[in-house]
Amino acid sequence: MRIPCPLCGARPLEEFVYRGDATVTRPEEGAPMEEWVSYVYLRNNPKGAHREHWRHVAGCGSWLIVDRNTLTHEITRVAEVRPSGDAR
């Protein structure tokens, strides 16, 4: 598996670390406990399309949002995490 970093080009897997599901978002302060439990612990764990966070640690250091298929490992889109809603 190689990940096409938007800044460095396609690089081998061992240059990246995985953080996990990029669709979980941190609840607002004061949100009910169930939302926090869900944020910290629960995952959709889909078989197929998965949006996830990777970091190019042994390259440019960027945090990336990667769309990858968990059944084929095919990567369809890679974008930098921007300090917008994406970065939460």
Partner: protein, 417 residues
């Protein structure tokens, strides 16, 4: 047919042409008292213990592929109870006790070999940790022995004794631990459950659940039609999120890839199951002579049943540090399984919030050893609608209650345990 010395002699004279099939291949019935989803080690063993301990014999095990096609036939067969927490040791030790009588009980040779599991340590901190774990084991009635450097090197002559960066300081040995033949565990439980009346139905995939007026589970939808059930017990390992997702349940669990490796056959040189305290590596030797070894999960969500090369490199590097003499041994086979990694590294063996629906899953990479004990407890839970004390800590609410069973103290990450 009961397997025995006389049946073996009889068959030997007939050129082994008269062995009957080990279990039937029935068509699914319309209704069962209990339907078990998943014909891996846990599903098959649950069917057996439901019949044996609770006299529930109108049971079906539905397996979408063939039995043994999942992780029960893909693992590296380590059986041990050298755990740390008081909440987990009783379950694993009960499982080990059942292993000790399993071949006889099932009338099937699962080749359980108590060759010991030896965790080798290389720093003072690791030694402290090993002492603490050993004491926790002893307090819980489990066997644990501390070995010094010389005893470890006598037992494992191929371990590099000149590693200056990571010297061997000693090891924690559990003498009653060991390994077994994985396929035989699936086939042995399948045959024993079948003989007590359970239907083992292969090529039958569960695609949904039937629900009653109050939302209770009343059966399953399959590719071979609807089957109604008094209770449904799910034991699908890597597909736990998928199957529980069919009733809208989201779990603290991710599916990851775990790889394993076997070398060409060599003369006996590893007579225990050893783990390397520096890299992530464990190794044993099969009766055929192949060295069986593995390391960490690949580390990202995957359902592929195949791994990537960084782990191969990582494991090979660790091997060269640990036992450099094996550097010229060739790799024969290498494969992967989909493991259900939970947010605290511990399983679920419990009732679910839905009436009549029970769950056994979240086995991470350690569910083979647990098959007898966990399935015994799961059968108890399904039969009584309440857990046995050994599996009581392993319920789904523990996360919301702030009671995770997290032996490594690794926090809520599914790939660190």
């Amino acid at each position: 047919m009961r397997y025995s010395i006389s049946s073996l002699v009889k068959q030997a004279f007939r050129g082994h042409s008269g062995w009957p099939e080990a279990f039937r291949h029935p068509e699914p019935a319309k209704h069962y008292d209990v339907v078990i989803v998943g014909g891996g080690g846990h599903g098959l063993a649950t069917a057996y213990y439901l019949a044996k301990n609770h006299e529930i014999t109108n049971v079906a095990v539905l397996e979408r592929g063939w039995i043994g096609s999942g992780n029960v036939g893909r693992n590296t067969t380590i059986v041990r109870s050298n755990y740390l927490l008081n909440s987990e040791i009783p379950l694993l030790e009960w499982s080990l006790k059942l292993w000790e009588g399993l071949s006889e009980e099932l009338n099937y040779n699962v080749m359980f070999s108590q060759r010991g599991v030896l965790d080798i340590f290389h720093t003072d901190g690791q030694r402290d940790e090993a002492v603490r774990r050993g004491n926790a084991m002893i307090v819980n009635g489990v066997d644990a022995v501390m070995l010094d450097r010389k005893q470890v090197l006598d037992m494992m002559p191929l371990v590099d004794e000149n590693n200056g960066r990571y010297p061997v300081l000693g090891g924690l040995l559990q003498p009653r631990a060991g390994n077994a033949r994985h396929d035989a565990v699936a086939w042995g439980y399948a045959r024993a459950a079948d003989r007590m009346g359970a239907d083992i139905i292969q090529n039958c995939e569960v695609t949904g659940f039937c629900r009653g007026p109050n939302g209770e589970v009343t059966g399953v939808e399959t590719n071979r039609g609807q089957i109604s059930a008094g209770k449904v017990a799910v034991a699908v390992a890597g597909h736990t999120s998928q199957v529980m997702g069919m009733v809208g349940m989201k779990l603290p669990c991710e599916s990851h890839t775990l790889q394993a490796f076997v070398s060409e056959a060599v003369k006996p040189c590893v007579n225990t199951v050893a783990t390397f305290g520096v890299g992530h590596l464990y190794i044993s030797q099969s009766d055929k002579g192949g060295l069986v070894f593995g390391g960490m999960v690949d580390g990202y969500n995957s359902y592929t049943q195949r791994g990537n090369l960084p782990i191969v490199e990582d494991v090979a590097e660790a091997m060269m540090m640990f036992m450099p003499a094996l550097g010229r041994v060739r790799l024969l086979r290498h494969w992967a399984g989909v493991v259900d990694m939970t947010m605290d590294g511990s399983p679920f063996i419990c009732k679910t919030p839905l009436e009549n629906l029970y769950l056994n899953g979240g086995w991470n990479y350690t569910g083979f050893k647990a098959i007898p004990g966990a399935a015994w407890c799961f059968a108890h839970t399904v039969a009584n609608g309440a857990p046995h004390k050994f599996n009581a800590p392993f319920h789904l609410d523990r996360f919301a209650e702030g009671r995770p069973v997290d032996a490594t103290g690794g926090g809520p990450f599914p790939n660190h345990h």
